[in-house]
Symmetry: C2
């Protein structure tokens, strides 16, 4: 194998400069759900890429702009790197130890909204590119596609990919995230579940009404929402929308083999999240691991109606709503599920419930035996001092479907996540040692792909 001593030395010697650059990017709020700072952040990202000799295009979309960048390399191979510059809302603010958009370093960690998801990943990859450029040309061509709506379901990305297949042509794709588990074993996630995220709502009255007046004879939006939700899933966790499971692909023997090789997460979940028990009578082991990622879900993410403050207020609420996400597995189709959901609610007499589609992704997976996956796994071994765990599919979602099924690329993950990284939560943070390791890994991936 190539000697990466000079690369590694560069990465270590310039680490503080790279973290300072990450700090600058984190300090630029870019909250897609709240439409804050997105154009400014896209411009900043473009500037950072131009500074490295990339040709940069900022493409407007119906939502946030998409940043595309390319720099030619020595070989005819091309790596497409997918990242996003938008972040989750920082609320609840009072739970942050330091302000979310004032990044700070303490105890070997850097804190701030987006420091892990996903700005840290982008900047550590730029750090890897700096190290390679310090040696001369890039070993292969590198393209970036960096969107600004990942945290709001990437609603304009698939269309962009479909319309720019030539621009995005590549041989392999590096995904936005990755990381290590609680034993510091690096993870190679080879698939993502799809998602359909909807808001169910209904408004039945012109105003909230005193419950002493309307309770007996006025329709109650909160009750109708409860009854409608109850038709979607029962206490046995079986989802009741007709046809929901029709296209679910069961795990193969190879999937089962890969899942068996993974550690049992059950004790970690209990201590980390205070999980009192698992659903469906599961206790742990391979069955739990398979259930966790190979089954689709219907999750109530939020409920809202009427009075929610302290004490009592005797009100019959005019409106009620629920946020619900469905995680989908191959080969489920979020568009078909949305139609089935509408038909199901209508059939059960809930045509008064409106469905707002807040975003969807198709599920997709990469073949665990693809040569690029082997390259990513092999290059990780030297960096992390232990072999990667190969995970056929993970519970999260993301827009990997157009990359796999439109561009035809193998998609590999790699990154600096770790179990306490708190993405989407207060005190989001990265471990700086993992930041450096990811940069070392990415430099190797680019170098090896160029061979």
């Amino acid at each position: 194998m190539t000697d990466y001593t000079r690369i590694d030395s560069y990465l270590e010697a310039n680490l503080d400069r790279s973290l300072a650059e990450l700090g600058q990017l984190v300090a630029q709020p870019s909250i897609s759900a709240q439409k804050i700072g997105l154009h400014e952040c896209a411009a900043l990202v473009g500037k950072m890429l131009k500074a490295r000799g990339f040709s940069v295009q900022i493409h407007p979309t119906a939502g946030s702009p998409i940043v595309f960048a390319e720099r030619k390399g020595k070989s005819d191979q091309t790596l497409l790197i997918y990242n996003h510059y938008d972040v989750q809302p920082p609320e609840p603010l009072e739970l942050w130890e330091t302000p979310p958009f004032e990044p700070s370093i303490r105890d070997g960690k850097m804190y701030g909204r987006g420091v892990s998801d996903d700005k840290g990943h982008l900047v550590s990859r730029l750090h890897a590119i700096d190290a390679l450029l310090a040696e001369g040309e890039l070993p292969c061509t590198v393209k970036f596609i960096i969107e600004g709506e990942e945290e709001t379901a990437s609603v304009n990305l698939a269309k962009f990919v479909n319309e720019h297949t030539d621009l995005l042509q590549a041989d392999a794709c590096l995904w936005e995230f990755g990381g290590v588990d609680h034993t510091d074993t690096p993870q190679e996630y080879l698939g993502l579940r799809g998602i359909l995220y909807v808001e169910l709502s209904l408004e039945l009255l012109g105003t909230d009404v005193h419950s002493g007046l309307g309770g007996s004879i006025f329709p109650n939006a909160a009750w109708r929402l409860v009854w409608a939700l109850n038709t979607l899933k029962g206490p046995d966790e079986r989802i009741l929308v007709p046809g929901f499971y029709d296209e679910v692909q069961l795990p193969s023997a190879r999937d089962r083999e890969l899942m068996e090789a993974l550690p049992d997460p059950s004790d970690d979940y209990k201590s980390r999240y205070g999980v009192p028990y698992f659903t469906k009578g599961l206790a742990g082991g391979t069955d739990l691991k398979i259930e966790e990622v190979f089954t689709p879900t219907c999750t109530i993410c939020g409920l809202t109606a009427g009075y929610q403050g302290p004490g009592s207020k005797t009100v019959l609420p005019k409106r009620a709503s629920a946020k619900v996400d469905f995680r989908l597995v191959p080969n489920q189709n979020p568009e078909k599920i949305l139609s089935s959901l509408r038909a199901h609610l209508d059939t059960h007499g809930f045509s008064d419930i409106q469905i707002e589609n807040l975003g969807g992704d198709f599920p997709a997976r990469t073949d665990p035996d693809h040569p690029f996956i082997k390259l990513v796994v092999d290059t990780a071994k030297e960096v992390y001092d232990k072999p990667m765990a190969v995970i056929p599919i993970t519970g999260g979602s993301g827009p990997n479907h157009p990359f796999i099924h439109v561009l035809g690329l193998p998609v590999a993950t790699g990154g600096m996540g770790y179990p306490d990284t708190r993405t989407h939560a207060p005190n989001e943070n990265i471990r700086i040692d993992l930041y450096l390791q990811h940069a070392r890994h990415v430099a190797r991936i680019i170098a090896e792909l160029g061979k």
Copy 2:
């Protein structure tokens, strides 16, 4: 009938002075939910009664003090008047046209928090007493019991009544409120439903969790709340807690006769509250009127879980809660319903759901044919120029049970409410013509009871 010309002239001649006194009382905030100004307001009320020659006692309770006052009259009859000096919180402040605690008069109305509920009722009754005292002795003994926790479910009142039956001995009771409907017909409400107000909640995880991670295998508090609520009441509006209806007293033939005499409110409800339809297939008429007040309810007043902001957040909420009120009819018992609810949830596997009791009242009614009710209805006729509508029970709740069932009193209502009086809402107001009419009515009630 007695000639009340001199009484009426006094009331009219001294109206401005009485309204000024009401203004002083309204300007003293006394918000029981927020524990603001309660002792100060109790002292002010005591002072106002002392100024009229009442002997005044201010009784401490576990919450706000209760003001008791008595002044002997000519006859051996005693009228007990129930009022409260506490008010609802004024929020949302930005919707008030003038500040809630700076009472102001415009277009024949007086505006301010508590001006109707219930300070206006108290001061107009003092105004009636002033008119009677200007003629000499009070025709009968008048006692006041004025509490400071009516807006927070009168949690210490029943105990006080139980422990002071001698002090509170009387022949009849005048309730805190009353008013006219949208045709200016005065209303005689002869009963109040009871209430049990609970918060159902459960917390299953130590933290909110990314829905991609926990959706398949972690228990979801929001789902469990939905399933639990669904066991309480189905879309047919039938409440499913065992034994819930056991003690429900069906309306008598006399009740039905009284209800038939009342106007049909259905069109008014549709236009005033935007009600699209009535539940249980009701269209209007006597069936609707009876269903409105003679049936118990289970109303979801509020729902809370997880993410409730704009757009999507993929979170599995650690906690979920619902505010639920049960309106109870004679002879249901809120304490028994609370036990039945707990047992019902346990039976259905929801022992993880906590029930917080946020307050209760027993239902109670006064016989529509009681002589005191006849007195109140007869005296109203001359004042309002049309007969009172006699309503056997109303949909709201209040602590009339100890007055009716412990003290053994007939309880009559009477007051200055009208459909746009906006109690519990911004721009609470009274019509000054109705303020004066109520004082005229109360003077007659005291005078006739003394005969």
